[in-house]
């Protein structure tokens, strides 16, 4: 390696978006940027969406049936996206697989691949159990069809493959599916919580970072994960229902040929009830999350250990707008008021969920970026400037566009998954 490295001016990772002030150590930059903000945010959405779907499957909250199935499909679409920001932020993305090959379990991120894969298997199994009957029916329908085109042939093959050879759709078999599904969902809840609590542990266990190091971090992360997951599911559910209503009115797609398709009024009625109940759960978890976050803050302020001087300046002065106005004000208190005031409507709840999502995103941002906003010397500060217009691959990956790419991917995936496993499938008979 000697002599091969050019000795000219060059940019260090993180320099493009870090502004240093007062005394910061020479090697300090904001190394963990927007992608690491996206990582707990997306993981939280996955975990939260799954927990919402489990409320129906495990606890049998019948009124959440439709939104539960939607959440399950959506959490499957979100799954690969939880991995994406991690890969995008790695300096050696092609070596990412080493984490699975030579895991060091003394590291908090070593087990991520395994927890994540386990969780992925659980979600996939549950989905398969829910949709097996549909797969068999569709495959049989397609098989019975005369003069199939190429696309129909392919679809027939796909659905036949998806049944995994289990063609029995007698009532007993389907009943067994439901039982297995319930068990999977039961295992899934602790795994989902572990997946995200563990993301919190990754930060909470960094002893060098005065803001991150707190045993409350995993719990705070779990609560805010459920909040964000439920909020996103409500929001997407409402939006998708609006699209369906629109299509029902215009009589396009399904509504053009299928006489049994739900009418506008049916859609409206179903939507109202499900959203109201889901938003109740949203509020419970919001209270829990907020309580823990405030507890953490009060504790730091009261104990006033060595790091408090610099933390106070970051929290109360430099990041005041981001923390108290954007995160707590706009992201917690305002949506809570919107939902808690009497005469709650779907529209009001929808607005609240958007604010909640924003609030949870800001919480991730304030933890990840805020934790790097001060120097380890406790005598200097670092400011983060999100790269908006990328001028190289690094500023794309760790800039606004990279974050938007990550945020948009689950919707694209959902579109395709929905083609195979329709999230709004009407079943004839009750399942529980």
């Amino acid at each position: 390696m000697v002599g091969q490295i050019a000795q000219h001016a060059m940019e260090v990772h993180g320099e493009a978006w870090t502004i240093k002030e007062l005394f910061t150590l020479p090697n300090e930059e904001i190394y963990w940027s927007i992608q690491i903000v996206m990582y707990p945010f997306m993981t939280g959405l996955v975990a939260g969406a799954f927990v919402l779907s489990s409320l129906y499957h495990v606890f049998g909250i019948e009124k959440l049936k439709e939104i539960a199935r939607f959440s399950l499909v959506f959490s499957f679409a979100l799954l690969p996206v939880a991995m994406m920001p991690l890969l995008l932020h790695l300096q050696q993305p092609f070596r990412g697989i080493h984490v699975m090959m030579t895991p060091h379990f003394t590291s908090a991120i070593a087990a991520f691949g395994f927890v994540f894969s386990t969780y992925g298997c659980i979600v996939a199994t549950e989905l398969w159990l829910v949709y097996r009957k549909y797969f068999v029916q569709t495959a049989l329908e397609l098989k019975a069809m005369k003069n199939r085109g190429t696309i129909d042939n392919l679809r027939c093959l796909l659905f036949a493959a998806l049944t995994l050879g289990a063609w029995d759709i007698s009532d007993e078999a389907v009943e067994k599916d439901h039982k297995a599904c319930k068990i999977m969902a039961g295992i899934g809840i602790p795994v989902a919580c572990f997946l995200h609590g563990y993301a919190g542990f990754i930060f909470g266990s960094v002893k060098a970072n005065a803001l991150w190091m707190t045993p409350l971090m995993p719990v705070i992360f779990i609560c805010s994960a459920v909040v964000s997951g439920v909020a996103l599911c409500i929001l997407c559910y409402v939006v998708v229902q609006e699209i369906r209503k629109f299509m029902a009115r215009r009589k396009i797609a399904r509504w053009a040929k299928d006489v049994n398709a739900p009418t506008v009024d049916q859609l409206e009625g179903a939507k109202h009830e499900e959203v109201m109940i889901a938003s109740n759960y949203l509020m419970y978890f919001m209270i829990a999350a907020l309580t823990l976050e405030i507890l953490d803050l009060i504790f730091r302020g009261y104990t006033q250990v060595k790091s408090w001087d610099i933390l106070r300046e970051v929290i109360m002065e430099r990041d005041f707008t981001k923390i108290f106005v954007m995160q707590y004000g706009l992201g917690n208190i305002l949506p809570f008021l919107i939902m808690v005031l009497p005469g709650r409507t779907v529209r009001r709840t929808t607005i609240a969920t958007i604010l909640v999502l924003f609030g949870v995103f800001m919480m991730r941002y304030n933890v990840v970026i805020g934790g790097q906003a001060f120097s380890l010397s406790f005598a200097g500060f670092m400011d983060y400037e999100l790269p908006i217009i990328p001028h190289n691959i690094e500023t794309y990956k760790e800039g606004l566009l990279g974050a938007l790419t990550v945020a948009a991917t689950p919707f694209v995936l959902f579109y395709f998954i929905n083609k195979v496993m329709p999230a709004f499938l009407k079943e004839e008979e009750p399942t529980h």
Binding site: I5, F23, W32, H89, H98, K207, F378
Partner: protein, 257 residues
């Protein structure tokens, strides 16, 4: 159960429980040897001798192929200036690669603080580098085992195995780690491992004209550096993190963190 039986069983349980678990584990000779190797490197910084010339930084960067103009460095020198009206200023422009040729303090963002010559009270320089901790936070958090502590105490990075996640950089309380701007892997001071294994001093120790930097084997009681560490009042940086740093400092001040 009779009282006699009960007492008998109680005694058995107590006797069994009092055997410590460690007495039952097999001794691994390799582990015992590794715990007590003949060489264990430690660093000694005498801050009272440092004049802030920055030759160590330049030598380190040249020796270890860290681009001179990139704003990362394996070792650096900090300047502490206390004024008579009790204000404290610290800076380390470019890690003191070019030494301190300006009396003004670098405040970042292109701002400089002029300090009146007569107002300067206490002022000194502190060289810093990786502490090669006895229980390093960085090796603990590496998810792939790309960074490790060698038997002779040096913490190294496997450049072919590092995935560049940055967790070790975050975990280090001393900001001794960074991403190599060319190789895109985590990088840090190696105590000039290649020089040590050839019987040479590390590049910074070699370059220091004032003897502010020294290295020794703390498992050798006769080593002059070990003698200083054992007999004089030395301190370490940020011991509250429990990392047990192996870089010892003479003449530390409370503001030096």
């Amino acid at each position: 159960m009779e009282r006699r039986d009960f007492l008998k069983k109680c005694i058995m349980v107590i006797a069994g429980a009092s055997v410590p678990l460690s007495a039952l584990t097999l001794v691994d000779p390799k582990k015992v040897l590794a715990a007590n190797p003949s060489i264990q490197w430690a660093f000694l910084v005498d801050t009272t001798k440092c004049v802030g010339c920055g030759f160590c930084v330049k030598a380190c960067k040249t020796e270890n192929d860290i681009p001179l103009n990139a704003n990362v460095t394996r070792t650096w020198v900090e300047r502490y200036v206390y004024t008579k009206d009790d204000r404290r200023y610290v800076d380390s422009p470019k890690g003191a690669l070019d030494g301190y040729t300006d009396a003004r303090i670098d405040l970042g963002k292109g701002e400089f603080k002029e300090i009146d010559k007569d107002n300067v009270g206490k002022a000194f320089f502190v060289p810093k580098l990786c502490n090669h901790c006895a229980s390093p936070a960085c090796t603990q958090v590496c998810p792939v085992g790309a960074t490790y502590k060698a038997d002779n105490g040096v913490v190294l990075v496997d450049r072919k195995w590092c995935i560049g996640c940055g967790y070790c950089i975050m975990a280090c309380p001393y900001a001794a780690r960074f991403f190599h701007p060319v190789l895109k892997v985590a990088d840090k001071c190696t105590f000039c491992y290649h020089r040590l294994s050839k019987g040479l001093d590390s590049a910074c120790v070699n370059a220091c004209p004032f003897g502010a930097r020294k290295m020794g084997n703390i498992h050798d009681k006769n080593d002059p550096i070990t003698q200083i560490i054992m007999n004089e009042r030395v301190g370490v940086l940020k011991d509250e993190f429990g990392t047990k740093p192996q870089a010892f400092y003479i003449g530390l001040a409370q503001e030096v963190r």
